[in-house]
């Protein structure tokens, strides 16, 4: 069976910076918007972010008032004894915010980080249904 794979284009390598008003940090440094895929299955919504350079202990995921904030911190590239002679990409932190609907079960969110890819699993909340008892009056 012939497998058709596309060739990755140069614009896939470009990173987009966050608008300054959103992510003003106290430290000077670049903040990028990580490329994200969001897909939905029957029981959960999956969020997959590209955050190369972020280690497991430098990712920060918080949920507050239905807003999910992903913050990834990257150590600046500064190899000892070398001079940067050609740069095509910049290195910086990552930040992205998503507003979740009430459909998400907030306590069941799972996250894993491997090879620079963050995967979040947001399970959908089971619809609340209550059985109403009828008492004889």
């Amino acid at each position: 069976m012939a497998e058709e794979t596309t060739t990755l284009q140069a614009q896939e390598a470009q990173k987009q910076e966050v608008q300054q008003s959103d992510a003003e940090r106290t430290r000077a440094g670049l903040v990028f918007v990580p490329r994200t895929d969001v897909y939905e299955t029957d029981d959960a919504i999956h969020v997959v972010c590209d955050v190369p350079g972020v280690a497991e202990d430098s990712i920060d995921i918080t949920l507050e008032n239905n807003v999910l904030t992903i913050n990834g911190y990257v150590k600046a590239q500064r190899p000892d004894g070398y001079q940067l002679s050609y740069a095509e990409y910049r290195v910086g932190d990552y930040q992205r915010r998503f507003t979740l609907s009430d459909e998400i079960d907030k306590d069941g969110i799972e996250a894993s980080l491997k090879d620079g890819v963050l995967r979040l699993r947001l399970p959908k909340a089971k619809p609340a249904s209550r059985k109403i008892k009828v008492t004889a009056s």
Partner: protein, 148 residues
């Protein structure tokens, strides 16, 4: 009738040529001032150099060590590989698709010959780092000056 050769156009052409060169330089400088070259291919690489070696870094999130193929020959480095597509379970639908997947192949030429036996590559957190030491015979040699 003998016609006088019309020499009036030549200085005009020279002036136009000069203007064209100036405009080209202006546009080239405007883009160069950002300090960054747009990547001609995927992945974008940064190259760090010192006298004895070069360090090439590239961001390849989502690739695994098996997906990346690094070849070194003379003074060129070839980075080849593929980013595998995420396997979606049955019946999944995409809300948003920003990450790409596919194959990539990139050839970089360095200003010196590489010692292929001493090349080191490591892949951590989605960032690939390849250390390419300079071949011994390519290193500059100090020449002693004989006194008269």
């Amino acid at each position: 009738m003998w016609m006088q050769p019309f020499t009036g156009l030549e200085p005009t052409f020279r002036e136009m040529e000069r203007l064209r060169r100036e405009m080209n330089r202006l546009f080239a400088d405007a883009f160069r001032s950002t300090g960054l070259h747009a990547a001609p291919a995927y992945p974008a690489v940064n190259v760090w150099m010192n006298e004895d070696s070069a360090l090439v870094t590239a961001e390849l999130p989502g690739c695994t060590v098996d997906d990346i193929e690094i070849t070194v020959a003379d003074d060129t480095l070839t980075l080849k590989g593929r980013r595998a597509e995420d396997e979606l379970p049955e019946g999944a639908t995409y809300h948003r698709r920003e990450r790409a997947c596919g194959t990539f192949s990139r050839l970089l030429t360095l200003p010196f010959k590489i010692d292929a036996s001493k090349v080191e590559a490591k892949f951590e957190n989605g960032v690939l780092e390849v250390k390419l030491p300079r071949a011994e015979e390519d290193k500059p040699k100090r020449i002693a000056v004989k006194p008269a």
